[in-house]
Every structure is written in structure tokens, then in C-alpha cells.
């Protein structure tokens, strides 16, 4: 198995108390996130639900389509600044990329590239390629990656926000790594091969996908922040994502050979420092964190200063 909506895994990694309400990023739908993230009432959707731009491919598999194919794209304001924004709905087909879903994001990023000034926000919530439309989904991801680099080469910040149910898996993880900045919460997970994919292909000895703590230590938000894979860690709250996103769209998103050379150095160093380690706990200990075992249970307000002190700075060099 390669990339599929099954990659996102079933159970949430972090658990929220029941009734945490829509202020939780994790619990919110894509449209609730947009409403609460952007300046009030500012979101104007492109190809809105009444247009019914849906997937024509799901009927072949006797699956229902959805009015927006699992992604809302449009324009809004964030902290008074015009932004282009896309939000994936992890509860429809695991937020996976099909032909229509992918094309909406491709068009949005190309608009940002051509405007050359308006930042882009991508609210990831995806298991990767939608396998019922695997060829179209894979190619859409390739087109989006290219458009993101073209937009950034024109100086546009492209900011990814990750903290949804489906995580950010498969090709979604590759697009995320093309962004100029990433904001992640504890519940956010980034990986190419999800836990079930590794287990199916390599066996339970390689990766036990039912061991949720292992999933969390390997691809969860805290680990990604500590190794510098994501620059900003936030609490699972829409307000926290909003504050971080406002900061990130104000930063320089441009990419050039110097940025890539710095990334090469950053990634090379990571393999050299941590490449022989077996577990996230070993890496956190190597970073100098006094009591690595305490990290999983740590509330955000304790973890953030710890990560700032001991974590790799992943904000630049991407």
C-alpha cells in the first residue's frame, strides 16, 4: 500500500475532553476553522457549495460525492491583511486529494503566484492521495508542489496549519514541507507513510500502528516541533492557530538557492545527529531535554518554552 486515506489512521492521537467545543481546532470542521481563523465575516469562497463542483469519479465506486469535494478555497482577511486560503475537510474521504479537490488548491496557489504578494494559508487535514482517483490525486499534488515553489520564488509566504483529525499524510506531507512556515498542534501529525501503511508493508515488528503513543512520538506535533520540522507549536485552539498564522504571514516566504542550501545543511545535520536513534525519546534526550518521558503529558504552555530552549529552530531554512 502506498498513499491512501487509510494513512491517516483511525483514532486521534491526542484526546480532547468531550464537549471541548468548536474552539478546538481538532474538533472543528473545515468551515468552522475558516470562520474562526479569519477576521470575522471576511471569508469569500470560490466555487462555493451552490456551484456543486464535485468529484465525478466516486460514483464508479458507489461512494457519495460531497458538494465541495472536501476542500473550501477562497479569500479572506487575517489581521487586516488579504489572504488566499484553503481548508481541507478531514471528515470527507479522509481529506484526500482527488482530481477536483486537488485542482481547487492548484488554482488557488497559482493565483497567489501571479498576484505575487497575497499570502496563502493551507489548513491541512488529509490522508494523502484519494486512491479511487489515485493518478489524478498524485498528479494534483505534484502540480501543487510546483505552484507553491513558484509562488515562493515570487516572494509569497505559504503557511501550513496542521492539527486536524486526518493529520497531514502522504503527498500532503510533501506539500507541507514546501510551505514557508508550518504551525502545528499536539494533535497534528506529519508523515509520508502512515502507521497502518508501514505496518502493512513491513510488519508489526517495524511499526505497531495500534500503539498510539508510538505514533505520537514518531510523527506527532511535539516531535515535529522539536526536530525543527515545524517552526511553530500551538495549543489545540483556533485562537492560537490564528495568532501564529498572523505572525507567519508577516515573515519572508521567498525561496532561492541560499534558502535551499540552508535546508540541505539543516536536513543533513538532522540525519547525522539522530540517524541512528530508534525512538523519539532518544532524540529528545539527545536534544538535552532533562526528562524526555514527561514531554507527551506536558501542556502547551510548558512545552512551548521547552521547545524554544531545546528544540531545533525549524523556522528558517525551509
Amino acid at each position: 500500500m502506498h498513499v491512501s486515506r487509510a494513512e491517516s489512521g483511525g483514532d486521534p492521537v491526542g484526546s480532547r475532553p468531550a464537549g471541548a467545543g468548536p474552539r478546538s481546532w481538532y474538533e472543528a470542521s473545515a468551515r468552522q476553522r475558516l470562520d474562526l481563523l479569519l477576521d470575522p465575516g471576511s471569508f469569500a469562497e470560490f466555487l462555493a457549495p451552490p456551484d456543486r463542483v464535485v468529484s465525478p469519479h466516486l460514483a464508479l465506486f458507489d461512494l457519495p460525492h460531497q458538494f465541495d469535494d472536501g476542500i473550501a478555497v477562497g479569500r479572506g482577511r487575517l489581521g487586516g491583511r488579504d489572504v488566499l486560503v484553503a481548508a481541507q475537510e478531514g471528515r470527507f474521504m479522509g481529506g484526500a486529494f482527488g482530481e477536483v479537490h486537488g485542482a481547487k488548491l492548484t488554482g488557488l496557489v497559482k493565483a497567489a503566484r501571479d498576484l505575487a504578494s497575497t499570502p496563502v494559508l493551507i489548513l491541512f487535514d488529509t490522508g494523502g492521495v484519494r486512491l479511487q482517483e489515485a493518478n489524478a490525486g498524485e498528479l494534483a499534488i505534484a502540480e501543487i508542489m510546483r505552484a507553491v515553489i513558484e509562488a515562493r520564488a515570487a516572494g509569497v509566504p505559504v503557511v501550513g496549519l496542521i492539527g486536524g483529525r486526518a493529520g497531514c499524510y502522504g503527498g500532503g506531507g510533501l506539500i507541507a514541507a514546501c510551505c514557508s512556515a508550518l504551525v502545528i498542534s499536539e494533535q497534528g501529525r506529519i508523515a509520508v507513510s502512515g502507521p497502518e501503511v508501514i505496518e502493512t508493508n513491513r510488519g508489526v515488528e517495524e511499526f505497531d500502528s495500534r500503539d498510539r503513543a508510538l505514533v505520537w512520538r514518531t510523527m506527532g506535533g511535539k516531535h515535529r516541533r522539536l526536530i525543527g520540522a515545524a517552526g511553530t507549536f500551538v495549543d489545540d485552539a483556533v485562537a492560537a492557530f490564528r495568532a501564529a498564522a498572523i505572525e507567519c504571514i508577516g515573515e519572508n516566504g521567498a525561496i532561492d538557492a541560499a534558502v535551499l542550501a540552508a535546508e540541505q545543511e539543516r536536513l543533513d545535520t538532522r540525519v547525522q545527529r539522530f540517524g541512528t536513534m530508534e525512538d523519539g525519546l532518544d532524540i529528545w534526550a539527545a536534544l538535552g531535554i532533562p526528562d524526555p518521558k514527561s514531554v507527551p503529558g506536558m501542556p502547551a504552555e510548558t512545552f512551548i518554552p521547552l521547545a524554544d530552549q531545546f528544540g531545533v529552530n525549524g523556522h528558517d531554512a525551509r
Partner: protein, 242 residues
């Protein structure tokens, strides 16, 4: 096609390419006498963090210093599926390679992918699909997802999937299906030597505009994507606020 056959047919004027554990890096003399950077994957090797960083370094070292095209020869597996690779952040390594190839292309080093065997998923995105132009050798067998795996996830028998695959190019493995979606720019013939076909391509390289959406529409394998992307792009450009 074996790597040795591929290299012999592509570079009769000579090459200096080294293969190490499935990763190949080097240079080759082109039909017009200039040199190209050549990198890629062979023997269905998966691409993990170690392979991706070596390949990206070859591009990065060449990006400012070198001239001429960059050829990416692909016969890979999928991304390496392992705990170690994901622990280290494989998505960043694969994207780093793709970013290096895309940026090199934008900076005037035309990138050409040559798919001569298998490729899949994250490995495909990081290599062949990150080039300006992807050509395929007859017999190439890309598969975003193989039917047995798809059968497991969709809970549909393989025979049912094979039947469905006849009516749409959108999900089934194989070169023809992928070409119809616009991913493959051209499939080279086997009657003319590859160096001549490469020479012809280099002499008529398209510009850096990504036309894979338009190709998919033209070939009928991805009929909606180009128009939907264009509509969203237009909406984004036309409604800009002051």
C-alpha cells in the same frame, strides 16, 4: 530496460555515472556536445532520507555552478516505508529533493525526467513528477497504487477493479493511464535511438509553464482539473481587494 542499456542508448558519446545502492549520480555528454547533470534511482530502489539527501546534494552542488539540463532517470520503488525514515521526517527530505529540482528548473537548468521502470507514491513525487518534462520509455510501469493494495482498502475484488479500470484512466496503474492524465509529456518510441530522441526534445524544450492540466484535458484522462484550477485562479486574481 536495464540501466546499462538505457545509458548506452542515451549517451553514446560517453558518461561518468556512479551507482551506489540504487542511487545514481554523475554527468553525461549530450548529442550537441554539452554536458548534463544526471541523477536518479535504479533497481526499483525505495527513496528514504539517505537517498533523498544525496540526490538533492547533487542538484544543489550544480544549481549555481553548472550549466545545461538536469536528467533524472527513474526506476524506483515507493518512498522507504520505515519507522526510522518517518522519525527523521521523510516528507521534508523528499520535498527538499523536489524543491531543488523545481528551483533549478526555474533558474534556467531545464529538468527532464526519464521514467524507465517503476515508480510510486512519494518517490515519484520527489523525482519524475518534480521535473519540467517527464518522458517514459516503453515498458515503464508507474503505479501510484497497485491494484492488490487498492483492493484491500476499497474492499473490492481485483477483478472488479480491473473492470472499472477499463472505463477510466483516473485510478488504475500503468503508463497509458498516467500519460492520459497529463503526467507524462511523451512516450519515446523504440525504433529510434534514445540519444536522438533526447536531442530532439532538448532542441524543442517547452518553457517552464506547468501544462500537465491542459495535457490531461486534451488526452481525456483528467478532464476537469485544468478548468477548475483556471476558474479558481481567475476568481483569486479578479476579486483582489485593495
Amino acid at each position: 530496460m536495464t540501466l546499462a542499456d538505457l545509458l548506452a542508448s542515451l549517451f553514446p558519446s560517453g558518461h561518468d555515472i556512479h551507482v551506489d545502492k540504487g542511487v545514481l549520480v554523475g554527468s553525461a555528454r549530450l548529442p550537441d556536445g554539452s554536458d548534463a547533470l544526471v541523477l536518479g534511482v535504479t533497481d526499483h530502489a525505495p527513496i528514504g532520507v539517505d537517498e533523498a539527501i544525496v540526490l538533492a546534494k547533487a542538484v544543489m552542488d550544480s544549481i549555481d555552478r553548472g550549466t545545461g539540463p538536469i536528467l533524472v532517470l527513474v526506476d524506483s520503488g515507493s518512498q522507504r516505508m520505515s519507522k526510522r525514515d518517518e522519525l527523521l521526517g521523510l516528507n521534508e527530505y523528499l520535498s527538499h529533493l523536489a524543491k531543488a529540482l523545481i528551483l533549478a528548473d526555474l533558474k534556467g537548468r531545464p529538468t527532464i525526467g526519464i521514467l524507465y521502470g517503476h515508480s510510486a507514491a512519494g518517490a515519484f513525487l520527489a523525482t519524475a513528477l518534480a521535473t519540467r518534462v517527464l518522458v517514459a520509455i516503453p515498458g515503464a510501469e508507474p503505479a501510484v497504487m497497485d491494484l492488490p493494495s487498492m483492493s484491500r482498502v476499497t474492499k473490492l475484488p481485483i477483478e472488479v477493479l480491473e473492470e472499472k479500470a477499463k472505463s477510466t484512466a483516473v485510478f488504475a496503474p500503468g503508463l497509458d493511464n498516467l500519460a492520459k492524465t497529463g503526467a507524462v509529456y511523451a512516450v519515446w518510441g523504440d525504433r529510434t535511438s534514445l540519444d536522438r530522441q533526447l536531442g530532439a526534445l532538448l532542441a524543442a524544450m517547452p518553457d517552464t509553464v506547468d501544462r500537465r492540466g491542459a495535457l490531461g484535458k486534451e488526452r481525456g484522462g483528467r478532464t476537469l482539473a485544468a478548468d477548475i484550477a483556471a476558474r479558481v485562479r481567475h476568481a483569486g486574481l479578479s476579486g483582489a481587494r485593495d
